[in-house]
């Protein structure tokens, strides 16, 4: 799994090397490193490292190791996202859908209404972190279960 780890590094020689060692110990493969020197706060330089780990367990172990050497992990964000199309047939409160997406960490990147007010059909294009996709589907299905709508999701390849 590919992730972006944003770390708060003390601007001192050798600190980054120590962090990279912890990542390597847990099987992480570095893709890129970005120093945000223009965002130095309280003596910390935010550094974004894009890494690929063999599993989520190894990612979690690496994060603990990094923190154990005194480097805070400020953010851990997946780089594996899925953009997919959904169709929603029937009338439903769109706010319910958008709030569900927000709660589940998904982003609505496209919305269009097709059909008449008698037979409405919404096309939604949604960007979801891969690991949250299953939960998002369950939540959307739960939201529409109380309506007369039909949610159609995209078949995976």
């Amino acid at each position: 799994m590919k992730v972006r780890l944003t770390l708060g590094l003390v601007d001192r020689p050798g600190t980054l090397l120590n962090v990279l060692e912890q990542i390597a110990i847990h099987g992480g493969n570095i893709i890129s490193i970005i120093h945000n020197r223009d965002r130095i706060t309280a003596g910390y330089v935010p550094v974004s490292i894009n890494v690929e780990f063999p599993s989520s367990e190894q990612l979690e172990k690496a994060k603990s190791s990094i923190e154990s050497i005194g480097v805070p992990v400020m953010e851990s964000e997946t780089l594996e996202k899925k953009v997919e199309t959904f169709l929603l047939i029937g009338a439903i409160d769109i706010d319910l859908i958008t709030s569900t997406l927000q709660n589940e960490g998904a982003r609505l990147i496209g919305l269009s209404l097709i059909g008449s007010s008698k037979t409405p059909c919404l096309k939604l294009i949604i960007d979801t972190p891969l690991e949250k996709r299953h939960r998002l589907l369950k939540s959307l299905q739960s939201v529409i279960s109380s309506s007369d709508c039909l949610l159609i999701r995209e078949e995976e390849n």
Partner: protein, 327 residues
Amino acid sequence: MIRALILGYGFLGKALAKRLLNRPVEELKIVGLANSKGYLYKRDGLQLEKIKEPLEDNEGFEKGRATELLTKEYIDLLIELTPTNISTGEPGITHIRTALKEEIDVVTANKGPVLLALKELKRIADEKNVIFKYEGTVGGGIPIFSLVNKCLQGDDIISIRGILNGTTNYILTRMHFEGLTFELALREAIMLGIAERNPTLDVEGIDTAVKILILANSIMNLNKNLSDVKIVGVTKVTPEAISAAKDNGMTIKLIGSIEDGELSVEPRLIRLNHPLCVHGTLNAINIKSNVLKTLTLIGEGAGESTVASLLNDIYDVIKERHSKIKF
């Protein structure tokens, strides 16, 4: 010589008999043909070319239950082709159970008994050391069980999904290509004899759910029943939704799936170049496994092509019987 009884002389029974007449299977003799009213039986084999329709117009037709033949006469193979009943599984379950207990091998295309009594029937077959085959129950002529049992030994099946109902696939295909409404496409399918007069089991997704259950319990060794399947049919699919899918290079298909132990049947958006995206009355089944990774089979899911599955099962019975005799 294997002495076989064809029990159920409807569309499929007649299609099988016709095929056996045109291209006989060496070492197979049809000694009995039976329908719901009675049976024809001849110890040294029926002359299929002389069989008139309906069966009861033939000389020697006996009124009564064909199960009498299974218990009283010398029969090696029951080919059970009575109509599917997904509520009770009858009369198929009784026919198959009786045959297996009498140490008679069974080949069937009847979904009811496999849906409702698979474990019991397999147990009796094991106890009696007889063969029970049901290739024709899912996907018509698509050899899904044979493929998994013979060609994927040692692999682990992770998921199975597919288009398993020709009627709904025909309706959705017509909606996609001609812009028809669901109601109009359904009426057309009924007129053409593709859909039954009461199409509820097809359009509500129940027929697909039954097939998904058979695949789950048989191939993936799950122990599920119909209430474990999330079922959504195609009746709410609108031309507007199909049109929206088309704009994105997709269409809508009724997909049955077994993924992460969850069974579902629902309309899904599918890319037009997806391996499962077949049109008309075609069926398609995709398997994902640990070693092979992915495999898709496409074929006619019903009608006369189911005879291909029956023939394959019959040949398997003949071969297995031979190998048992040799040992």
